[in-house]
Symmetry: C2
Subunit: 150 residues, 2 copies
C-alpha cells in the first residue's frame, strides 16, 4: 500500500488523517461547499488533494473550534480562502491586471479584518474570564493562608 497517489497527491483517507479528522467529514464539508466540490477526479472518481488542502481543512477546524463557528458560518470564511487561492493563481499565472489585483487584495484584507475582529472579541472575553477565575483563586489562596492547620 503506497498511501500516496502519484504526483505527491493525497486521497481522502490521507487528507483526513493529516487534518486530524475522518473521510466522512471531508465529504460532508465538500457537500456544504467548504471544500471545492470537484477536486481533481482523475478517471476512477477518487478525490485527490494537495498539501494546501490539508492546511485548508485544519484552518477550518481551527476556526470552528476556537471561535465556535457553525459550518454554515464557516462558509463566509471560505470565501476569504477562495479569494486567497484566486490571488495565488493569478500570481503564479504571471502578472495580471493591477486593478484586478487590488480588488482581490482589498477583498482579502476585509475578510481577514472580519475574522480578526471576531478573534479579538473572543480573546477579550476569554481574558475577562481568566481574570475572574484568577481573582477567585487569589481569594481562596488568601483564605488558605489565614486558616490554621497547614
Amino acid at each position: 500500500m503506497t498511501a500516496t497517489a502519484p504526483g505527491g497527491l493525497l486521497r481522502i483517507g490521507e487528507l483526513a488523517r493529516r487534518a486530524g479528522t475522518t473521510p466522512r467529514t471531508i465529504r460532508y464539508y465538500e457537500e456544504l461547499g467548504l471544500l471545492p466540490n470537484a477536486p481533481a477526479r482523475p478517471a476512477g472518481g477518487h478525490r485527490l488533494y494537495g498539501e494546501d488542502d490539508v492546511l485548508h481543512v485544519r484552518e477550518l477546524m481551527r476556526l470552528r473550534e476556537l471561535l465556535g463557528l457553525s459550518l454554515e458560518e464557516l462558509g463566509a470564511v471560505v470565501e476569504a480562502e477562495e479569494a486567497r487561492a484566486m490571488l495565488r493563481a493569478e500570481f503564479e499565472g504571471g502578472v495580471s491586471d493591477p486593478a484586478r489585483l487590488r480588488e482581490i487584495l482589498t477583498q482579502a484584507r476585509s475578510h481577514l479584518d472580519l475574522q480578526l475582529s471576531l478573534i479579538r472579541r473572543r480573546a477579550g472575553e476569554l481574558a475577562a474570564l481568566q481574570d475572574d477565575l484568577e481573582t477567585r483563586r487569589a481569594r481562596v489562596v488568601g483564605l488558605l493562608a489565614e486558616t490554621p492547620g497547614g
Copy 2:
C-alpha cells in the same frame, strides 16, 4: 404583573431572562444536575431562585461558550461551584472546623486551577490563530502597497 415573587426571589422565567436564556434550558440544566434539582419549591411547585442563581447560570453559559465545553463536561465545573457554595455556607454559619475549611479551600483551588489551565490553553491557541491572521494581513497590505493604481 409583579414578575418577582415575594422575598426578592425569581421565578424560572425571570431567571432565564436575566441569564439570557429560556425556561426550557433552565429546566434542562436542572435535569442534568447543573442546577440544584430542588430549588426551594414553596407549595405551588413553582421553582424559586435568587440572584446568585443568575450568576451561576451565566457562568455556566460563559464557560460553555468560551471553552466549548459540553453540558456533561460542565458537570465537573459545577462540583467546583458547589464546593464554593459549601464554603460560603460554612462561613456564614459561623466558624467551623479549620481542618474541614482547609479541605474545602484546597479542593476549590484545584478546581479553579483546572479551569484556569483550560482557559490558558485556549487563550494560547487563540493568540496563535490571531498571529497567523495578522501575518497574512500584513502580507496582503504589503502587496497592496506594491500594487499600482490606488
